[in-house]
Symmetry: C2
Subunit: 383 residues, 2 copies
C-alpha cells in the first residue's frame, strides 16, 4: 500500500484538497501587512453565506472547543443560568464549559443517537424564564444526529428571551444554515470539517441581539474576547496573531465553495448520507440515527454481529481507510463514517466496498457488493 | 520584482524553510490516530532542550497570547496578587490579561528600550511578600530588549515565594534558556519566531513548583486548562483538536534544530545581532537597546534624521523586504529588523544593503556600503 495514501473517512479532520494545500504553501507574510489585511477581510466576508448571516464572521486561531468557549465567556456571567441541550459528547462539552465559569446549567439530556425535538425543548423551557442562553449542537458528531436547529430556534424565540447558541462544528459549510432568518444568535464552527482545511481555525458569527448582550457584559476571558475581534475585524485584522498559512488556505477554500455553490454542496452531502445509509441497511448493519435526524456529514453504525473495532482495524491496516470509532460510553461499540468536505459520491462507494471486504476478512456475515449496489442506486437516482 | 519573493525581516512570523513547508504538505491524518500520537509525543519531547527543562512541554493550538493567558488562568485566582514587569507592549499584555481576571497587578514599569534590572526587581519585590506570581518578558519584541531572565529569576527565588513566569515568545529556540537550572517556573513561546513555523501554535513548560500551584487551583478557563493538557500529553494526545499540519512542520523543525545544534543556533543569532548593530552604528542610526540588553532576535532603531515609515515603505516597495515599525506610542517612530529563525548572516548583509539603498532613495544621509562593511567585519571575526 502507498503509505501516503491513507484515506480519511472520519468526521474531521477531513482530506485537504491539493489546491488548498498549494495555497497554504505560499511564503509567509507579516500578519500586520496590508497584504494580509486584504486577504483576511476578503475571506472573513466570504464566510457569511455559510452561516446565513449579513453580519461579521470572526476568525480565531484555535480549535472548535475554543470557539465554543468564546460563545460562553462573552454572553454569560457566573451565577447566570443557561440551558444546554445534550445529545452527545459535544453537547456535554458546552455543559462543562459553562460549569467551569460558574454558570448554572440546566441540562436537557436525550439518549445518544436521538435528537432534541422542538416539543421536548418547549416543555423544558416552559418553567425556566430565567435562562439567558440555550446551547445546542447542530450535528452531534459523536452520534451522527442532526438536531433540528431551525425548529429549535423557533421554540427558543417563542418561549424565551434567551440567546440561542449553536455548535455547528461538524456540519457548517455542508448543511443549510440561515442564522439570521431562523433567529439563531451565535453559530460556531471549525476549519477541519466541511471547510476542508487543516485543524487550527475556528469561526464564529453573532446576531445583533447577541452583540447587544455581548456589549453589555464584561468578557470572562482575554484571548476569546469577542469585542476585541470585532474591533480588529473592522480594521481588517485580528487582535492577536492569526494562523496565517491557514488563512491562505481558507481563501482558496472560499473559491472552491463558490465554484460548486452552496446548494450543490448541500445536495452532495445529502446524497452521500443517503448512499451510506442505504448501503449499511443493505448490509444489515443498524444505524444509530433515524432518517429524520440523520446527519449529512457523518453516519454512525451500531453493529450487532461483529466487533466495530475489528472492522476499523482491518479497514485501516488492509485497505488504508480510516473511519472513526465511538466516544465515551460508545467507545468500541460503534463506528462512524465521515462523508464530508473533500469527498464525493464515488469516494463513498469506495469506503463501502472496503467495508464489505473487511467484513468478510473478519468473518462477519456479508454479501459482497450488496452495500455498493444499494448506494449506486441512490446515486443513479440523482444523476 | 518576483511577487512571491517578499523577504520577511520582521520579528515574527519568520520565513518558513522549504523542508518544513514540505513536511506540512503531508496528507491530513486523524488526530486521534496512533500515527498522530506517535508524532505528537515525539515532537513535544524534543522541545524540552529549548526550554531547558526535563519536564513536559505542552503544545496548544492558538497564538502566543493564548499561551500567556494559559500561564495566568492556571496559577492565580481573582483577588490574588501578581507583579508584572513591563518593559514594552508584551509586558503590558500580561498586565491586561491579569486584570481581565480580577488579579491585583503590581506593575514595575521601565521606559521602553530599557531592561528590567535585578536591582530594580529586588527593590520592587521587597515590600510585596503577598505577590504569588511575577511575570516577565524575555525578549520584549516591541523594543528589541532582552531582559536578564537568569538574574531576575535569582532575585525572585531569593526574595519571594512567587512563581516566576516568562514570556519567551520572540526568542525561545534562539537564546539560552535553562528554566530548571535558573528556577523559572513557566516559560511560554510561539511557533512563528525562532521555531520557523507558521503562526498558530504555542508551547508552554512548567516547573514542579508551578505544577504544585496549578494542582491546588481551579483553572479560570476551559480551553486553556493546563491540567487537561498534561493528562492528555501523558496519553500522547491533546484534550482538544490540535493543529495537525503545524505539528507535521514542528517535527521537521525539531530535526533542523537538532542538526544545527542549540549552541550553534544561539551563536548564529548573536552574530546576526552584532552584525546588525554594527551596521546601524556605522550608518549613524541610533539603537534603542544598550549592548548589555540587546536582543539577538530583533534590533530596534530610533532614527533621528529620517522618517522610519518612509524607509519601511521604500524597502518594501522597491526592494521586496519587510521590516517592522513601532507599536503603540512608538508607531511611526522606530523600525525593527528581525533576524531570527530561518535567517543567516548573509541574509543580514542583504537587508543592511537594502536599507542603505533605501536611505539614499528617501534622501537621507548615507554612505553606501558603510553598514555592510561593518557587518562583514563582525562576521569575518567569527569564520
Amino acid at each position: 500500500m502507498f503509505t501516503d495514501k491513507m484515506i480519511l473517512r472520519i468526521p474531521g479532520p477531513t482530506p485537504i484538497p491539493p489546491r488548498v494545500q498549494q495555497a497554504m504553501n505560499q511564503p509567509m507574510i507579516g500578519h500586520r501587512s496590508g497584504q494580509f489585511s486584504e486577504l483576511f477581510a476578503r475571506t472573513a466576508e466570504r464566510l457569511r453565506p455559510y452561516f446565513g448571516t449579513s453580519g461579521d464572521v470572526m476568525i480565531l486561531a484555535g480549535s472548535g472547543t475554543s470557539a465554543l468557549e468564546m460563545s460562553v465567556v462573552n454572553t454569560l456571567q457566573p451565577g447566570e443560568e443557561a440551558a444546554v441541550l445534550v445529545s452527545g459528547a459535544f453537547g456535554e462539552r458546552f455543559a462543562k464549559i459553562c460549569e467551569r465559569y460558574g454558570i448554572v446549567v440546566h441540562r436537557l439530556d436525550v439518549p445518544w443517537g436521538e435528537a432534541v425535538t422542538p416539543d421536548k425543548l418547549d416543555a423544558f423551557l416552559a418553567d425556566k424564564p430565567q435562562v439567558q442562553a440555550v446551547f445546542a449542537t447542530y450535528c452531534e458528531t459523536s452520534t451522527g444526529v442532526e438536531n433540528p436547529i431551525r425548529e429549535l430556534a423557533q421554540v427558543v424565540r417563542q418561549k424565551s428571551n434567551a440567546l440561542f447558541i449553536v455548535d455547528a462544528v461538524s456540519c457548517l459549510g455542508a448543511v443549510s444554515c440561515e442564522m439570521d432568518a431562523w433567529g439563531v444568535d451565535i453559530v460556531v464552527t471549525g476549519s477541519q470539517k466541511a471547510f476542508m482545511l487543516p485543524t487550527g481555525l475556528a469561526f464564529l458569527a453573532a446576531s445583533k441581539r447577541a452583540w447587544d448582550v455581548i456589549d453589555s457584559k464584561k468578557p470572562l476571558a482575554f484571548y476569546l474576547d469577542l469585542k476585541a475581534y470585532r474591533k480588529s475585524l473592522a480594521e481588517k485584522t485580528t487582535p492577536y496573531t492569526p494562523a496565517v498559512s491557514l488563512i491562505f488556505g481558507l481563501d482558496e477554500v472560499c473559491k472552491m465553495l463558490e465554484e460548486e455553490g452552496l446548494a450543490a454542496i448541500i445536495k452532495r452531502h445529502e446524497i452521500m448520507r443517503d448512499m451510506t445509509r442505504a448501503a449499511m441497511r443493505a448490509l444489515q448493519i443498524p444505524l444509530m440515527a433515524s432518517d429524520e435526524f440523520a446527519a449529512s456529514t457523518v453516519t454512525s453504525c451500531h453493529p450487532e454481529t461483529f466487533d466495530a473495532e475489528q472492522l476499523r482495524k482491518v479497514l485501516r491496516t488492509q485497505h488504508n481507510i480510516v473511519i472513526a470509532g465511538g466516544q465515551q460510553h460508545l467507545k468500541g461499540k460503534i463506528f462512524r463514517i465521515g462523508h464530508m468536505g473533500y469527498c464525493e459520491p464515488l469516494d463513498v462507494l469506495q469506503v463501502i466496498a472496503a467495508i464489505e471486504m473487511s467484513l468478510q476478512q473478519i468473518g462477519a456475515p456479508v454479501e459482497l457488493g450488496a452495500g455498493v449496489k444499494a448506494a449506486q442506486e441512490v446515486l443513479l437516482a440523482h444523476v
